[in-house]
């Protein structure tokens, strides 16, 4: 606040206040406009896809396999493939990402070694996804002999989103007030107890936000999963994770071949028959819907976590 010493007249002060209030309002309006513009683009894109794909947006489309006839083709193999790959990605990226972030924030000594790790993690977030694809092709597909499987794709995408999860988790962990930790230490809690009972639960909202951003990126990735060899035509589902016999759970699906939504769309867009473009639009709308649904669940969970926090 500048003190208006040179010009003591009340009028000038009022004008100044008014100007700053106007500026304040103007900024609110600007912010709102930017937000509306961003949402409008997304909405326009989504509506465009829905309108274009409307003739194909029906139950048959979701429950049929790909076909040479655009009006018979569907996305069953693609959406099941995408869902399963996302399960693997989330199950791998979350624990590793959170553990890495907690180590870096709570345990790691501040020295040149951790500095290098930190710089690398941040840099990794900017590496083009195709590089992850090539790495995964050499490492997961051939070295670990996973083949062109759901597991290989899930691990690849997990690597891809790991930096995002780590950075978001670190931010969230850092946001937990120092006083909470000190209070716990004062009561005799060990470092692990402080982390597990206080820091981690309180930062869960931020961790989930990181997961949302990471998985939203992963679900639309095409380049790395094409590189590791996702298929374009597949007319069967991976083996079911739940079986009729003991132990009722099966992990055979991890080794199965798959296709994913972005690949199916990419394939359709490049086909000569214009009918496939309608399919691609419909698949795009459903992929966006899947992303929104996934995020919706995470946002709801985040809300529940935040409600439990009462400092």
């Amino acid at each position: 606040m500048a003190v208006v010493a040179e010009d003591p007249s009340l009028y000038a002060i009022r004008a100044g206040v008014l100007r700053r209030k106007l500026l304040d309002k103007a900024f609110v309006i600007l912010g709102l406009l930017v937000l509306v513009a961003a949402l409008a683009v997304l909405l326009a894109l989504f509506l465009d896809l829905v309108v274009q794909g409307a003739p194909r947006l029906n139950w048959d489309f979701i429950t049929s396999y790909a076909s040479r006839k655009p009006e018979k083709a569907g996305i069953l193999a693609a959406w099941v493939g995408t869902s399963l790959v996302m399960v693997v990605t989330a199950c791998v990226a979350m624990p590793i990402g959170v553990a890495a972030a907690i180590y870096l924030e709570e345990y790691a000594p501040k020295n040149w070694f951790t500095a290098i790790i930190e710089i690398n993690v941040t840099n990794l977030a900017g590496v083009p996804s195709i590089i992850y694809g090539l790495l995964a092709l050499g490492l997961f597909v051939y070295k670990f002999n996973l083949g062109q499987s759901i597991a290989a794709a899930g691990l690849t995408l997990a690597l891809l989103i790991l930096p995002i999860v780590i950075v978001a988790t670190r931010e969230a962990v850092r946001a937990v007030p120092r006083s909470i930790r000190e209070a716990a230490y004062a009561l005799g809690a060990t470092r692990w107890e402080v982390t597990a009972h206080h820091v981690l639960p309180y930062s869960m909202g931020g961790v989930l936000t990181g997961m949302i951003i990471g998985l939203s990126r992963a679900i639309g990735e095409t380049a790395p999963i094409i590189t590791i060899g996702a298929l374009s035509f597949i007319a069967f589902l991976p083996s079911p994770p739940i079986t009729g016999e003991f132990p009722f759970l099966s992990f055979a699906w991890l080794k199965d071949a798959f296709t994913a939504m972005p690949i199916q769309m990419f394939n359709w867009v490049s086909r000569p028959d214009p009918g496939f473009r309608i399919n691609a639009a419909a698949a795009g709308a459903i992929l966006l819907g899947m992303t929104l649904l996934m995020n919706g669940v995470a946002i709801w969970l985040r809300y529940r976590f935040r409600k439990k926090i009462n400092w």
Binding site: T63, V80, S83, P241, A257, P272
Partner: protein, 335 residues
């Protein structure tokens, strides 16, 4: 983790519950793996679809797209049973397969007619000679041949806007071989796209445009563009059509496309059945996806070659232009 995994497991479970597909004995499934050219993909996809319907899901067929070169890489490593190829196997690929001990049977499955198309507003050209195409596309044309008049003085001095596939495409290899005379030898200053629909849009929207792409991309858009007749070696201008391809008059821009079947895989009954299905029941499917089926006699001959286990390629690692399938099937194969 909880959120997303719960969702996805629920989704997967719902999928399985809803559609009742739970083959518990997935291990006993027979699988056929195909990969390779995106040009051949629509045919393999159609055959795979019909074959699986015919076998009531007892055999699982998967088809990938890694390009002809990528397909051969996997094929020569023994990862797949059948390679889709829009050009014959090259010398280096033959060597790679030989080194890995992978023997293969080369089977032509259809023809593709490369189509040279212009905008419908183009009134000055209806047919074109190979020499004119060469003048347009050869590397020496780069920066020099900029107008239609530069190619043929009878044509107007309008800018020449060229559209063509990128250099990774088998279509590019064949077109340059057939017009310029050397595979992959082309000018670089044209609008290149790996997505043929971009080329189609280019021709549709630009009155000065000329593009080349597979017949499958021309057929559904025939009303919106003009396909040029290409003067063949007998001096007749012939437009792209299934008849022209079959009677051999649409040359040199028609080419056979292939599948390569691994000899080791061909011993498996399901592969044998699939390949015979491909060759004997494939013709209507080939037509449906806008390629030109071979003559019935050629398919029978190909089946005979397959049954007798004739391994090797009739090309010896070179991409030859203007070869009929009959000549090709009768040739002594080299490995």
């Amino acid at each position: 983790m909880k959120s997303t995994s719960i969702f996805a497991v629920a989704a997967a479970t719902a999928a399985i519950a809803a559609f009742g597909v739970a083959p518990a004995d997935a291990v006993a499934q027979q699988a056929i793996k195909i990969d390779g050219s995106s040009t051949v993909f629509p045919i393999s996809e159609a055959v795979a679809e019909e074959f699986q319907i015919a076998k009531r899901g007892k055999v699982r067929v998967t088809v990938g797209i890694s390009g002809t070169g990528g397909g051969f890489k996997k094929f020569c490593r023994g990862e797949i049973d059948i390679a889709d190829a829009s050009r014959p196997i090259s010398k280096s690929e033959m060597d790679a397969c030989a080194k890995a001990g992978i023997e293969y049977i080369e089977l032509p499955v259809a023809y593709d007619a490369l189509t040279v198309a212009v905008n419908p507003k183009n009134t000055w050209v209806d047919s074109i000679t190979v020499a004119e195409l060469k003048k347009m596309w050869e590397p020496a044309a780069q920066g020099k041949v900029k107008t239609w008049k530069d190619v043929n003085p009878k044509w107007p001095a309008r800018p020449l806007e060229l559209f063509g596939p990128g250099s990774d495409s088998g279509t590019f290899d064949y077109f340059t071989e057939a017009t310029v005379g050397k595979s992959k030898s082309s000018r670089g200053d044209y609008t290149a796209s790996e997505d043929d629909n971009v080329l189609v849009q280019g021709v549709e929207s630009d009155a000065n445009a000329l593009a080349y792409f597979g017949y499958a991309y021309y057929a559904p858009n025939a009303a919106k563009m003009k396909a040029l007749r290409v003067v063949n070696s007998k001096g007749q201008p012939v437009g792209p059509s299934p008849q022209g391809v079959l009677d051999g008059s649409y040359e040199p821009l028609s080419r056979p496309i292939f599948i390569y079947v691994s000899k080791a895989s061909a011993r498996r009954p399901e592969i044998k059945e699939f390949v015979e299905f491909y060759l004997l029941k494939g013709a209507p499917l080939v037509e449906e996806v806008k390629y030109v089926p071979l003559a019935q006699a050629s398919y029978s001959r190909a089946v005979a070659n397959f049954r007798s286990g004739k391994v090797g390629t009739a090309f010896g690692g070179k991409n030859e232009v203007g070869l009929t399938v009959e000549e090709l099937l009768a040739r002594e194969a080299r490995f």
